[in-house]
Amino acid sequence: MESSRTILTKIFTDYYLGAAQAKKDGKPIAYVTAFTPVEILRAMDITCLYPESYAVVCSASGKAGDMIGSSGMGQFAGDLCSYSLISLGMDHAERLPYGGLPEPDFMVATNNQCGTTLLWFRLWSQRKNIPLFMIDYPTGSENTDQNEYVYRQYLALIEFVKKQTGRDLDQRVLAQQAANSRAACKLWSQVHVLNQAALQIDAAKLANALFPIVAARGTPAVCRYCETLIHEHSRENENAVIAAQPSFRLLWHGYPLWFLPKRYPSFNDDRFQIVLNDYTLWWDLDYPAADTLESLIRPYTSTYLNWLPQRRIDWTEQLVRDYAIDGVILHANRSCRRALAHVIPLRDHLLRQGIPSIILESDMANPDYYSPEKMNSQLESFKESILAA
């Protein structure tokens, strides 16, 4: 049986080499945002590339500074999302990981995570002089007219892609893609469940394991990958390497710090360990069973960043219970306005429930906003507050 590592490498290689090959063969390529209904595009035989995911690779390779400097956003960079800046810098920076992403034929952006994606993709598509399609997902789930609206936009997307590429939607592939995505998301959630009773999979490994569900969701390889991860780390597997158990189980709330080798700051004390980062669960998308175009409305309308803050707070509180969490670290990521909306109310809510919680300010991809000294000292007092609790 292949190891999860081998499958991950293969998914990664297929993604980057596949894109380069598609370019060579003249097959259409689209840049898409993280929560684009790619199942539709793949059912039209479009190669989809995720600039956000590539920004993570660039940040982890130490290229963020160079690329942000090349973004052309100059004096405004301090107020903007690092993923967007790194991507905009891709067109001018040199010596990029994997040689950069192949040029797209068109772009698709959605606002079910933030409004930044629309602004960034619009500017980028204008600079590249290529077409852009924007899908609008109403925020919050209080609006009953939204399904019809999103559905109409899906039909318009299909027309747009047809016009750009001459390709038609293959209903059979769409159904397969949707079914695979549904299965992969279920398995992805089960990978996390491994850590509910005891720490069985390291948080850094889980953060690194995110790539397939983000960039290859809809392909059968992702299900295999998740199944293998579960098998490798399950208690029933006698060869499983189970980590030493922490005394204090922590939840990291929000984006990892991609530029750190371990993705999270060190606690300098093995008694404290992250057993869950809720960010990786944002891709536990809720696909209904139908596997039709309509079935793609709910998962993409009800994304985490499209939830209203109260729902985010309730969800986190539930995770604290399910994962027997002793303390919560909330990453206030300066890049992401939408993700900041609930951070202070959530911290206050958790403290009222007697759960030690702390806000750490940084950025997911730009190390300029990371101060190890400051963070260490904040974490020291946080640990003390847990010990005292």
């Binding site: 925020t139 609206y149 803050p309």
Partner: protein
């Protein structure tokens, strides 16, 4: 002293003096069924008015109450609004209507909704595109807003009431356009018009129409001199800064700002389905927050006005306008239209020392 001086004084005070505004709104509150605050041109005041409320655009100097801050990257307008606890008017407002536009406003709404106190919130979920599905959706959302406001005021929003409100506001828009023509002909000072137009978004509409009729009839005896420039940006309510630009040699001949020309450039059409007409009006608005009609319209407007430069007055950390500016500035420069960007901190009005030299060199360059 001219006949319009009292009007100007009153309007300036409405914009710049939060105490004056508060006192005025207290009197409005006593004689209406409530005040509904709203943000941006995407929220049609006509629907609020037809539901029987006084529509209040949340704009102007908010005062110096210092409350809790929102997280850093939110724009300075939103930060100021939050820090001053709903611009110091929370107790006077029956409700707030938010647009679903930029992330700063979305976050403001979301944070506001988690508070147990404070006015009720409604959202007009308007789309990011301008195509067929967008028009249908926005029309349905306008109807939804009308019925929610009607329920709040225990009244109905009939087509007749809505039609009457549209006619009233179209009259205001028409009068403002007359004033803009005078600004373009250099027979009216732009900062005066901006004060009047901005105050009008807060005043009782009938009272404002009478004021505006008088103001539109006034004219300077001599045309203004100076370099013809145009202003661009999101909401622009820093009258001191605009006055300082004029004092430094700018003859502002027009604008593309949300509380100025972008508010009044077009009437809402009547006839046919009234909600569809309002939706069409909103979708035709040139704004960088949602619809990308802003960029081409800027160059066209500058050409129309014969402006040789555009001064962008962006609110600090305003993400939509930064993105728009980056693209626009490069294109405008290629068309030999000079640009200057001044970032405005909403809670800190007036000309900042750091901008003085930049303004002077810009004027020399022109």
């Amino acid at each position: 002293m001219t006949a319009v001086d009292p009007i100007l004084k009153n309007c300036r005070s409405m914009v710049l003096n939060p105490h004056h505004r508060r006192a005025y709104l207290q009197s409005v509150s006593a004689r209406s069924c409530g005040i509904i605050g709203y943000f941006s041109n995407y929220i049609p005041a006509e629907i609020i008015a037809a539901a029987g409320f006084h529509p209040l655009r949340l704009i102007g100097c908010f005062g110096s109450v210092s409350g809790p801050a929102l997280c850093d990257p939110m724009c300075s307008f939103v930060q100021d609004f939050y820090a001053t606890q709903c611009s110091g008017l929370a107790d006077l407002l029956t409700g707030l209507v938010f647009p679903n536009s930029c992330d700063s406003l979305k976050v403001l709404r979301q944070v506001w909704q988690t508070r147990p106190d404070g006015p009720q919130c409604w959202t007009l979920d308007h789309p990011v595109n301008t195509d067929g599905p967008a028009l249908l959706y926005l029309t349905s959302q306008l109807r939804r807003l009308a019925s929610e406001l009607a329920a709040a005021s225990r009244s109905t929003v009939s087509d007749e009431k809505l039609h009457a409100a549209i006619t009233e506001y179209n009259t205001i828009r028409g009068l403002l356009r007359q004033c803009y023509a005078k600004v373009e002909a250099r027979r009216l000072r732009y900062s005066d018009l901006l004060a009047v137009a901005t105050a009008g978004l807060m005043l009782d509409r009938n009272e404002f129409t009478r004021m505006l009729q008088e103001f539109a009839g006034s004219s300077l005896s001599q045309p203004l001199s100076g370099n013809p420039v145009m202003l661009a940006g999101p909401l622009t309510d820093d009258l001191e800064l605009v006055g300082a630009l004029e004092n430094h040699g700018a003859c502002i001949v027009g604008d593309s700002v949300t509380n100025g020309w972008r508010y009044c450039s077009q009437d809402i059409a009547t006839g046919g389905d009234i909600y569809t007409k309002i939706a069409q009006h909103i979708l035709s608005q040139a704004s960088p927050t949602a619809f990308d009609l802003h960029r081409p319209s800027l160059a066209a407007r500058a050409a129309e006005l014969g402006a040789c430069g555009i001064i962008f007055l962006n609110q600090e950390r305003c993400e939509p306008h930064v993105h728009s500016y980056v693209k626009c500035a490069a294109e405008l420069e290629q068309q030999s239209i000079k640009t200057l960007l001044i970032e405005v901190e909403h809670g800190r009005p007036g000309l900042q020392a750091r901008d003085l030299m930049r303004i002077e060199s810009f004027m020399e360059l022109l």
